[in-house]
């Protein structure tokens, strides 16, 4: 596949150079070197060599803010993804944050011979060996040691998710040797490793006999729902936990007391960050809101830009994370703060990590430091299910 093929496949030749994409791109607002329009222009002018070696190719957040408005219906994120796979073939991979540790882990799980020990956090959860419902844990056990210092516990999200499923009468199955879904590898152009992961996961899922896979992470969900079917055969239905909860709200034992994770017992106002993968990628805006509104004693206030207009949390696939990323986060956190909410609720562990990171990074030169509670919706629900402090 070469650049010309990509242009044909993604129909980028329809681009009218109108600039609508760049005008609302959160990266372009802060990073004047980046412009979706100019990237496309370069591609169309046949400057493949230049394009694949441009650092800014990896600055795109693939958040879909641009394509949602594009009058020529150019799928800019998919274009970016495909050009990145060309770039990857030439040794380019953008600046990997955290020294590339997370990518290394993803690649390491692509070995078929490993036997992971990833389920030692299940206390309080009821799971079963064989069930129609599989809970996909994702990278939580690996992220836990990395991000616990900024007060984000992905494992807690997984634990609470399973407890909520239990409350709904579901005892899910877990894959003891589950692999990374491969989302970050796909979106940075390492399609080969992604395919390996997809095959290993699909095989395990097939053997498990699962009919439904529940995700707490929108990236895993999107990957299984949209990307996996292009490479492997999946005979089961991926679903996000918020969709499941929204359909079963009346059966959840919700009480108005909340605690833990930096949330004070008197919390009343929360605001909601639509993750890019759940929102613009998959169109799921209402279910999380229905859930928040169903929790007694909680009031949802919307940020200035919400739903389809939501602003991304500032970093995608751990790549090209920079001071611009922090500027984007500060912009978004300022909006959250302006609502008067005490807690920012999201349904993506990565959003949570990125916002928390902006808070602990004390550099004030990029804007005011903003302190706010940040938590996952699943934690909010789990707290509301507990009967005592």
């Amino acid at each position: 596949m070469n650049l010309e093929d990509i242009i044909k496949q993604t129909k980028t030749y329809y681009c009218l150079e109108c600039g609508k994409c760049t005008s609302i791109c959160p990266v372009s607002r802060h990073n004047s070197n980046f412009s979706p329009r100019l990237m496309l222009e370069r591609a169309l002018m046949d400057s493949e060599g230049e394009l694949v070696h441009d650092r800014e190719l990896f600055s795109c957040l693939t958040c879909y803010a641009c394509s949602d408005l594009c009058p020529s219906e150019v799928d800019y994120p998919v274009f970016t993804q495909k050009v990145r796979s060309l770039a990857s073939g030439q040794g380019e991979h953008g600046d990997c944050a955290h020294s590339g540790v997370l990518f290394s882990l993803m690649r390491l799980t692509a070995h078929s011979g490993i036997k992971q020990k990833r389920l030692d956090w299940l206390d309080g959860c009821r799971t079963t060996q064989r069930s129609e419902v599989l809970y996909f844990v994702g990278c939580a056990p690996y992220f836990e040691p990395v991000f616990e210092d900024i007060e984000v516990s992905p494992v807690n999200i997984a634990r609470n998710s399973i407890k909520i499923l239990n409350a709904l009468g579901i005892e899910p199955m877990l894959l003891p040797n589950e692999r990374c879904c491969g989302h970050d590898l796909l979106w940075t152009g390492d399609v080969e490793t992604f395919k390996k992961l997809a095959h290993i996961n699909a095989e395990m899922i097939k053997e498990s006999g699962a009919r439904k896979i529940v995700f707490s992470c929108p990236e895993g969900y999107r990957t299984f729902k949209i990307d996996y079917p292009q490479y492997v055969k999946l005979d089961c239905e991926p679903v996000h936990i918020t969709e499941l909860l929204a359909q079963n709200l009346s059966r959840l034992p919700l009480q108005p007391r909340v605690k833990q994770e930096g949330i004070s017992p008197e919390v009343r106002k929360v605001t909601y960050q639509d993750p890019c993968r759940l929102g613009r990628h998959l169109g799921i805006y209402e279910p999380p809101r229905e859930i928040i509104k169903a929790i007694p004693g909680i009031e949802l206030v919307e940020m200035e830009h919400s739903g389809g207009e939501s602003i991304c949390c500032g970093t995608s696939v751990w790549t090209n994370c920079s001071s611009y990323s922090k500027e984007i986060r500060i912009e978004r956190l300022s909006e959250a703060k302006a609502t008067g909410a005490e807690v920012l609720v999201t349904t993506c562990p990565k959003c949570q990590i990125h916002f928390k990171c902006a808070m602990v990074d004390k550099g004030a030169e990029k804007g005011p430091d903003i302190k706010m509670g940040v938590t996952d919706l699943v934690n909010l629900v789990a707290n509301a299910m507990e009967t005592r402090e």
Binding site: E17, G19, K20, C21, T22, S23, S28, S32, S35, E309
Partner: protein, 441 residues
């Protein structure tokens, strides 16, 4: 049913400038013309405009004489407030059933004095004023309406709905009010039909990025026309909706709903020019007004159009910015809209605060699939009348004997619509005049 030979008559559907022109041309050639118009008055979209480009002539000053001529021409029969219900037959022998809607006013008696509309206690949004002004339930649509008679809108008339009021009847000195009036159905025999139903407005509320109907000071171009027109709801004073102040800094946003695969993929053709005109008008109304036009491409292709744009830049301080805005927000302190755009020449993402934003709303052909089926003609994928042979017979529809002109045919401005109207009249005349000589009906 008229007993006249169908081959000497033509039906023109649509009383806008194109329909009027076609009617006049045919009437002058000796044909009998039935000009059917859905609304109470002929005039169409042009009557709503203040000035026309590229001359900045007063629209009504050009239109009204034609309207009057159409009304008084012995060969033209105006059937306003009427709709075509059914058509059968073919070229040379169409049978058309027209519904003359009940206006509850006896037109032979109504003098058009206008007292009834003044005294009507119930006011509703005026369609002519695009909701910016009100009209009575009994009304004359605009000052220069032809025919100048009142019409009662039965959907809102309190007497017809609830049995109360009849205020208009009390004040009408000509005793023209007739609440017993019924819809009338007539049958016409015509040799040819010209479709000139004109230009519609695409509903851009779903393009939420522009904030139309959410942000008070974001209006459409045609609403702007009504605000600057001397006969409009503000008597020609350009006042912005939120506080009635005269805006001194106006932004025009082009291609709203047009050139957009998610809405209308085609170019509406006239917006680049009308935005330029509107910017000039704003300056004339209030010298020193700064206008900025956000465009993608300047379509100034007609005769002297490019010079018009150059004049706007030089003499009226209009700035043209190449960049299609991605979002319009608002400053809650002063209700000023804020436009986010990329200035594509330099590549910088900027925000622009204006006092008023005028959106160049996409324009659509005013014809439904249902009506096209009644006519027996096809529409293309954008809803315009389908023209099977664009090069040899560009005004013919897919049904012999039916021709189209004006915006319903394809996006075009007033001079081109008038040209096409004469063309369609010529085609219609040619076809039916030659019927006898071709030896068959």
């Amino acid at each position: 049913m008229n007993k006249e030979d169908g081959r000497k008559s033509v039906l023109v559907i649509g009383g806008g400038i194109a329909g009027i022109q076609a009617s006049l041309d045919l009437a002058n050639m000796g044909f009998k013309v039935y000009l059917v118009e859905k609304s109470p008055s002929i005039g169409g979209r042009m009557a709503q405009l203040d000035k026309t480009f590229p001359t900045n002539d007063c629209a009504m000053c050009i239109l009204a004489p034609k309207m009057i001529e159409a009304n008084s021409h012995p060969n033209i029969e105006l059937l306003t407030y009427s709709e075509v219900e059914e058509i059968s037959g073919g070229i040379g022998k169409f049978r058309v059933r027209v519904k003359k809607k009940a206006s509850f006013v006896d037109r032979s008696k109504c003098t058009g004095c206008g007292l009834c509309q003044e005294k009507c206690p119930w006011k509703v949004d005026s369609e002519f004023e695009l909701g910016l002004g009100k009209r009575g339930v009994i009304y004359i649509p605009f000052a220069q309406a032809i025919p100048r008679v009142a019409t009662i809108d039965k959907e809102h008339c309190v007497y017809l709905l609830k049995g109360k009021c009849r205020a208009c009847e009390k004040v009408c000195s000509a005793k023209a009010i007739d609440f017993e009036q019924k819809d009338e159905h007539i049958e016409l025999r015509v040799g040819a039909i010209i479709v000139a139903s004109g230009l519609g407005l695409y509903d851009i509320t779903s393009l939420t990025e522009y904030g139309y109907r959410k942000i008070k000071n974001v209006i459409t171009a045609i609403e702007f026309e009504r605000l600057t027109a001397a006969s409009g709801p503000t008597m020609g004073e350009l006042r912005r909706p939120s506080d009635g102040r005269t805006p001194e800094n106006i932004a025009f946003v082009q291609c709203v709903g047009s050139r957009d695969f998610r809405n209308k993929a085609y170019c509406s053709s006239v917006c680049c020019m009308h935005a330029t005109k509107e910017a000039m008008l704003a300056f004339e109304h209030h010298p020193g007004t700064k206008s900025t036009i956000f465009y993608m491409d300047m379509r100034a292709v007609g005769k002297r159009f490019q010079e018009y744009v150059a004049r706007a830049k030089k003499e009226y301080d209009v700035t043209y910015v190449r960049g299609r805005p991605g979002r319009i927000e608002v400053d809650p302190e002063n209700d000023n809209p804020i436009i986010w755009y990329e200035e594509t020449i330099s590549g910088r993402v900027m925000s622009f605060e204006a006092e008023l934003v005028v959106l160049a709303q996409a324009m659509i052909p005013q014809i439904t699939k249902e009506f096209a089926d009644i006519l027996g003609i096809e529409l293309n994928e954008d809803g315009f009348v389908k023209v099977p042979d664009k090069l040899a017979q560009p005004l013919d529809t897919t049904k012999p004997g039916i021709f189209a002109c004006g915006y319903v045919h394809s996006p075009r401005d007033i001079p081109d619509s008038v040209t096409q109207a004469s063309g369609a009249a010529g085609r219609a005349a040619e076809e039916i005049a030659s019927l006898g000589s071709r030896g068959g009906e």
